[in-house]
Subunit: 207 residues, 2 copies
DNA sequence: CCAATAGTGGACAGAGTGTCTACAAACCTT
DNA sequence: AAGGTTTGTAGACACTCTGTCCACTATTGG
């Protein structure tokens, strides 16, 4: 019987435990953080932890799930519109969300928790992206030259690589708008252009 | 005083411990694997483990370091040549290496070990890639439109996303040559083209 | 062959886990 | 503002895993 979330104490306790896990994971690495470390930083009794979560992994899972829910809420209205063109609005919203929840994103993107959190995040974004690609292809009557699932994976991989660079750099190298613009130009037009070359890229045959 | 590697027993023991860690991590996740699990699967005494490695993390680190050394040896001759054009030969060699060391790559790319292994791998590849990009730009007299470090990060992120898809898919969806060709076309020409659109991509202003 | 080195099983203290209990404190309702 | 309900707390418990040490055996390379 996990405590009710309406209670002020419950909200406070969960927030404290969440923040303690995130900050400690960034400082020392998730694996070396003990439940007692978490409750000590949160200034709570160790027994309290177990009233809310079964273990450390459970807490991490809920941090990620909550973050993903929040992100989906912010993305929902934009995704509808972007099925028409390559607006970049969803990408920008991810950068803004990451800016608001910097430490949680850093913890996840670093792969803390044996990559479970990162896989959960990547899977959700990849599935949503593939859906957008599919809808756009049908709407515009074009046929993707590469499997939409692979396209989505590659795009999410590229996006998260740049996002993680942007979050770990200190100080923040540029506002989210600029980071997104850079990423989109690179991604849409390709590496050949971004490296400074012009004209048609070569057709590599690496065999 | 770690044992000498020339001894046949030492080689055998290390190989067994390495394989046990990799297979167990894939089955149950790195965090839940104990040193005793490892030695049991390797059919060795637990004390033997500590004669070779200080702890589980140490073993993981050495697995990654050895793999990276092996990869660098295979990449060295190709990288010189590819400073001239976008040949894709280094990318292909990575896919071939991953094909040979499938399980180790899967363990690393999943982020086992709180992402330490993956970060180590990513950092090495990103630095090497940035160097190639820089050399190519100078050799060809072009100026990259985007910071070479960001370019390298994005490219490695894209590459590892596709590689991880290719390794986790069962059965293997295509030979390494085809996977590399697909990845290179996508990466060099960009997402707009890969999604089936033609002509100039839009210039997104996501502000 | 044999000196040196690697592997073994068992014992050890210490740290962390997850559970439980009985009690104190804070909450929401009315 | 009182009161029944829920949450937070400290401490104790058995358990697992860690990392170290020892004396002993087995294998190796020279």
């Amino acid at each position: 019987m996990p405590p009710e979330a309406g209670d002020r104490r419950v909200r406070r306790t969960r927030r404290l435990l969440r923040d303690a896990l995130v900050s400690l994971s960034l400082e020392r690495g998730y694996a070396t953080v003990t439940v007692e470390d978490i409750t000590e930083r949160a200034d709570l009794g160790r027994a309290t932890f177990y009233k809310h979560y079964t273990d450390k992994d459970d807490l991490l899972d809920r941090v990620v799930t909550d973050l993903l829910d929040e992100l989906q809420d912010r993305l929902r209205p934009l995704v509808q519109a972007s099925e028409v063109g390559f607006t970049g609005k969803p990408a920008l919203e991810i950068f803004r969300h990451a800016d608001d929840e910097r430490d949680a994103y850093r913890m996840i993107l670093r792969g803390e928790g044996d990559g479970r959190a990162l896989r959960q995040f990547t899977r959700a974004q990849t599935e949503a992206t593939a859906e957008v690609f599919r809808a756009r292809a049908e709407h515009e009557g074009v046929t993707p030259r590469i499997s939409v699932d692979v396209l989505a994976r590659a795009w999410v991989g590229e996006q998260l690589a740049v996002l993680s660079w942007w979050l770990e750099e200190d100080p923040r190298p540029m506002p989210p708008e600029d980071a997104t613009r850079m990423l989109l130009d690179l991604s849409l037009r390709g590496r050949y252009w971004a490296n400074g070359f012009e004209g048609e890229p070569p057709v590599p045959d690496p065999a």
